[in-house]
Symmetry: C3
Subunit: 351 residues, 3 copies
Amino acid sequence: MKKSLLALTLLGAFASVAQAQSAVQIYGTVDAGLVKRTDQTLAIGKRANNTLGFKGTEDLGNGLKALFQLEIRYEPDTGTLESVTRPLFQGQSRVGLQGDFGLVRLGRGLTALQETSTAFEPWRGLPTPVGFQTDLQVAGYATAFGSGSDPLGAAGNSGNRFSNALFYNSPEFAGFQVNTTIGTKEANSGAPVVGRGSALFPQYPANFEASVNPYSISATYKNGPVAAMLATERNAVESRLSMIAASIFATPELKLMASYQRQNQDHTRLSNPLTKAWILGANYTMGPGKILAGYGQKSPDGLAKVKQLSVGYEYSLSKRTYLYADASKKKNPTLTIPTVNTYALGVNHAF
Amino acid sequence: MKKSLLALTLLGAFASVAQAQSAVQIYGTVDAGLVKRTDQTLAIGKRANNTLGFKGTEDLGNGLKALFQLEIRYEPDTGTLESVTRPLFQGQSRVGLQGDFGLVRLGRGLTALQETSTAFEPWRGLPTPVGFQTDLQVAGYATAFGSGSDPLGAAGNSGNRFSNALFYNSPEFAGFQVNTTIGTKEANSGAPVVGRGSALFPQYPANFEASVNPYSISATYKNGPVAAMLATERNAVESRLSMIAASIFATPELKLMASYQRQNQDHTRLSNPLTKAWILGANYTMGPGKILAGYGQKSPDGLAKVKQLSVGYEYSLSKRTYLYADASKKKNPTLTIPTVNTYALGVNHAF
Amino acid sequence: MKKSLLALTLLGAFASVAQAQSAVQIYGTVDAGLVKRTDQTLAIGKRANNTLGFKGTEDLGNGLKALFQLEIRYEPDTGTLESVTRPLFQGQSRVGLQGDFGLVRLGRGLTALQETSTAFEPWRGLPTPVGFQTDLQVAGYATAFGSGSDPLGAAGNSGNRFSNALFYNSPEFAGFQVNTTIGTKEANSGAPVVGRGSALFPQYPANFEASVNPYSISATYKNGPVAAMLATERNAVESRLSMIAASIFATPELKLMASYQRQNQDHTRLSNPLTKAWILGANYTMGPGKILAGYGQKSPDGLAKVKQLSVGYEYSLSKRTYLYADASKKKNPTLTIPTVNTYALGVNHAF
């Protein structure tokens, strides 16, 4: 019995070591595959964002926790950050407190609308062009004329995050949750936004402060197999993006989802300020395999429609590793090559 | 008993795993808060340097240890490194050996003077403008005319570190310790230093070698509640910075501190080569709370005086996490806005 | 006994924690020393590549494993990445699967030829100028006219890796192993390669696609004290590098090695397309000490010969830490300073 006690004592010593070590958790994703697009050479590309992150939680007692998260984003095919001009912690860099009141964080990360939307997209918001997030859903608006969540951000910044922001997530209450992101007006080395100005006198010159505090709010609801969201966002140049989405597990294997989004850029565009899009999607699980499918349309100002049809298949080798095969056909009549097919085959490993 | 032995054997197996894992320790700080300065918009800013570091120690036997430390510095409000041009390991990158003889390291890090000085500054050398380190104490000289510890360093390098240096810290002896940093003369992609030259023919052209080996020496003394330091430093362009400082715990809760520093730039400036500054500070601990206060003056060549008064409060949620509130008033008659008030409210989390 | 069972239960809990933590392994090297070269000032330099890496392996069952590796490369004397323009994961960034079939990986890393060659170089392929890898062996060709493994890679990329590549290592069979690297043709932000073109109309303009799929193959053979390799590589601009090498442990303490390499750049050079080199080397182990020695010659097109003689000594303080002293004399009659001596003294710490 003495020896058993000794064993327990040693275990105690270990417990403290383990606790100290668990302060920082390293996590991430490496995703690489072969990608072939119409009129492009066969390339090594990615399906998911590639991340290397550091995070930790500290129990402060009384249900209060301190937490932080720092997330590097990189391209495994070349070993580089996502872009030379992107921040080291492009994924996120936040510190905060969690308690009965919810979760409060300061720093940089996905806006409430952007973060919530991925659950209603058939490729879970992955940035692959086979998915719908990058062009048809929220991120797709991040191209010009002050669109996207962060139009006054530094060159290379992703368009779907706020820097210099306060993030609040409420506790869940009867299936409802509210998420809010509010940014400061501070200038952030942004490129000029011409908008209703001219190239010489842009509406927002380089490194300009926001004309309003950017904010993003999403409300979600979950009830058994059903989930829904409602979200709206106004960026630093007063563009507004709103979204409604829902999903249902028709059977335990089959998840159906739909979303509708509308962007109004009338503060910066002289004409055609409206963009609308809708997406239908399905995921079907069969043992270690999963089929993904989606169809969507985007109508800038009701004119030329972009149409996309995608299918994919994932085969899980474990909870952390899966193989995938994706294919999509996308039509955009305004482009030189109006129809682009994309095929991808790769491996995704989480650590 | 057999099972107990088995338990011990398993513990042995764990011990080796734990040892292998403890080779590299990940540590860091995330600090973010709301900052409001006179004539600037409300911003998300920081009080402390934000770090993500990797360090380790290896026991070589006979009291000898090998050790290394690599420290990233970043801005959590934007996810970027401190500056695009700063090194990845802006904090430090050193490898060395420790034994009875003391600690010898090679690489890049704070100079002996700079590292020692923080114990005598009421904000512990934190870079917040509410503190005194950045402008009134050592780092404040790092602005022009070959001042700072590393005037010939690459653009964006902090002014209070040596690259290409050998660091030696003696063992403590009767309360005394000596710290020495010696740099090589090697060129390091530095910008030109005009000095006593002209814009066309600078005294130190771009990427020039040091005219002398830069060095920094500090001696410290500790005796119960009393501590004192004496330090001097000569940089690569022969500017000399000297400092004397002392602190005393008047009661276990109350730490009082004072420092005086003098910089001579007569090798690079034609006139007014002297800068002098002094700082008085106090820290008062009340349970989980701590009050910080300081007053200081800086006199470039005995002319226009810069004066700063600061107060702060820290509230510890744990040993690793605290909230803070800071305020300061600073007068510099040579600036367009001669009086600047700064207020900050935030959270600091160490991991 | 109940307590022993409890102890075992607790151990079980620990086992899962330890397993989860071991998913990501942090490793690396810090190497710094004093370096003196003829006509250069004494500097802090390195002998080995400095790395900070993250890697992990996941057991998928049935002998199948998923694995990844991400490797930062930096300079400890200045805290920077190896070059501003180099990728964050300059060392490698790969994800793959390992099984009875061998090892398949996607991403960026050393080519098969480059990786295999280091075992036949007396400084184990370390980049110190005292060693032979950087100039006389494979990497030495990475200078101009489309030489090196990655001539169309982004500026700053090392010349001995493929980006956008598939890597295959066969299992060992009767001492034989085959390693293959195949790159895509995709453009990778490369600088122009003039080659047989002109400065205005380069043979390969900036950001150009490869004219062929670059590949690299090496075959190795091991039998007791004997090892040998045969390798060939064709890069994106059709330069071809071939190599034959062998080593033998004459006694358990004495390893002798020799290599011969030949590069043909007739696709991009108008004249003198051939470069040939040979290296002889020896390592002699004496307890914790090891002597390294080598001699080699390089003949660009059979004209001016580069000759190098080097000796070194390593003293191991542990399995992870050693001190070193190196010296070399190198003659290149085409340079302004035809004879360069290099001396280095430093410490290498692996973690």
